[in-house]
């Protein structure tokens, strides 16, 4: 039992340490996120009323894109240098190791993204009553993005057409999360309770925590065979 926990911790810490050695790479998704957000007022005009209505949507769409771009690297170096093969052969359940990698990835990209998103929400004058809803949906939704995305990354890692193919595969799977998050934020802006949407998001989080690591591990095995 303890050795399983150890394996999880070792992989988790390894990814955190590896990322902290390449800090610039860590900042890239966040800078991308801010830059895309800044593009929106240029496109729509800086009318505060308009921005207030579309801010949450802009933040969520940009988060989807940033997540699918940053996910691409989650298995890339492991696949290239053979450590993914070592993980498959290690004797520990691959599902557990993959879960550790996904958890580390979310801590490194998802969490900072939420903080930055909250700051940009202020910047774009999102009504204060919607801030809490935006935070909760991002908090529940971004792990689901990482978990579902990891399956597709494991399937496409090392392919010629990797990045584009990845987005093509995962964006349709991301749609329910976007829909429920936007409904929650909209309800919050209209001062209506948004518990139901949060329950749905939590349900999807539970479902993907349970199933996605298994599917990811299986996909990695197929790619290694």
């Amino acid at each position: 039992m303890t050795s399983y926990w150890n394996a999880f911790r070792v992989i988790f810490l390894r990814d955190i340490i590896l990322a902290s050695r390449y800090r610039a790479e860590l900042a890239n998704p966040l800078i991308f996120f801010i830059m895309v957000i800044v593009l929106f007022p240029f496109a729509f005009g800086s009318d505060p009323d308009l921005l207030r209505r579309v801010t949450a949507g802009m933040i969520w769409i940009t988060a989807l894109l940033a997540s699918s771009l940053s996910l691409e690297g989650i298995f890339r170096s492991d696949y290239a240098d053979g450590s993914a093969e070592q993980m498959v052969l290690s004797g520990y359940p691959l599902t557990l190791l993959v879960a550790a990698k996904i958890a580390a990835h979310w801590c490194l990209t998802g969490l900072p993204l939420i903080i930055i998103a909250m700051l940009t929400a202020y910047l774009l004058s999102l009504p204060t009553q919607a801030l809490q809803a935006l935070f909760l949906t991002l908090f529940l939704g971004t792990p689901v993005l990482s978990l579902i995305g990891a399956i597709a990354v494991a399937l496409t890692v090392g392919l010629r057409s990797g990045g584009m193919l990845l987005s093509l595969i995962i964006l349709p799977l991301y749609m329910p999360i976007l829909i429920f998050s936007m409904l929650a934020v909209e309800n919050a802006m209209a001062d209506i309770p948004f518990d139901a949407e949060l329950y749905f998001l939590s349900g999807m989080l539970v479902l993907s925590v349970t199933l996605a690591p298994i599917a990811t591990a299986y996909s990695l095995r197929i790619r290694m065979s």
């Binding site: 399956i151 496409t156 093509l168 595969i169 349709p172 829909i179 429920f180 409904l183 599917a215 197929i222």
Partner: protein
């Protein structure tokens, strides 16, 4: 029993079976299609509200049914191939994808042709339309992944996983989209939700649905035959078969 099953799933046996069955299903398709089209275009009465233009239902609804049906067939075949390593299942799953995508596209295209006179617009962000569009994206993603690999076995297994993930997601997508659009805008005109449809209109519709199913089986058999020949191009029975064809011409 088990031996018979193994025989059935061997590519050579399946190929011969497919060759045998293809003309039967092709004729069945033609007969049902003629019966259904005659019933739908001539026999069925015009709708009291929509007039003659409702007759597009005989293409639109069966293709919408097929789009989802084929996705399920594809995912289940992929899963069978994944679990029991049955080559035929991989072949069937791969041949399903373009047919399913075509039916999904057909459902969307006929739907928008129907929507223009009825709703006055080619496209509305209605729940059914949107989830059908997402289904098309799922098909396209599956086909893109399938074609990204050089190794057929890896391609089959990787895309089977994607199809299964999509299968789990389809109900979630469907209900989320339904919830989204019912909260966004009032219920949109949706003919099939009417309490019932007149029996004279229903029978041709069901015949057309069967015709589309038979058409699907025919095309899957044809596509699987070519797939098997490509898959097995190094085996002796294929080269024997090809030699026979060559000597005959």
């Amino acid at each position: 029993m088990l031996k018979q099953f193994h025989q059935l799933v061997s590519p050579k046996y399946f190929y011969n079976l497919a060759v045998l069955l293809t003309p039967w299903f092709a004729w069945l398709t033609i007969l049902l299609m003629i019966a259904g089209l005659y019933g739908g275009l001539v026999f069925a009465p015009a709708d009291y509200q929509q007039g003659e233009s409702f007759r597009i239902i005989y293409v639109h609804v069966p293709s919408a049914w097929m789009s989802l049906f084929i996705y399920v067939v594809m995912a289940v075949a992929g899963g069978v191939g994944l679990i029991w390593h049955i080559k035929i299942a991989d072949v069937v799953a791969k041949s399903c994808a373009p047919i399913g995508a075509s039916f999904t596209f057909l459902a969307l295209a006929t739907g928008s042709l129907w929507g223009k006179p009825m709703w006055g617009t080619w496209w509305v962000w209605d729940a059914r339309l949107t989830s059908e569009l997402i289904l098309l994206f799922l098909y396209l993603g599956y086909m893109a992944l399938q074609s990204a690999f050089d190794d057929r076995r890896v391609a089959a297994r990787a895309s089977a996983i994607l199809a299964l993930v999509g299968l789990v997601n389809i109900p979630i997508i469907h209900y989320s989209v339904e919830w989204w659009s019912t909260l966004h805008q009032g219920a949109t005109v949706s003919k099939m939700d009417a309490p019932s449809i007149h029996i004279d209109m229903l029978i041709p519709l069901l015949i057309m649905a069967l015709a589309f199913k038979a058409y699907f089986v025919t095309i899957v058999l044809l596509r699987s035959r070519t797939e098997i020949l490509e898959y097995e191009c190094n085996s002796s029975w294929v080269s024997k078969l090809l030699n026979k064809v060559e000597s005959r011409t």
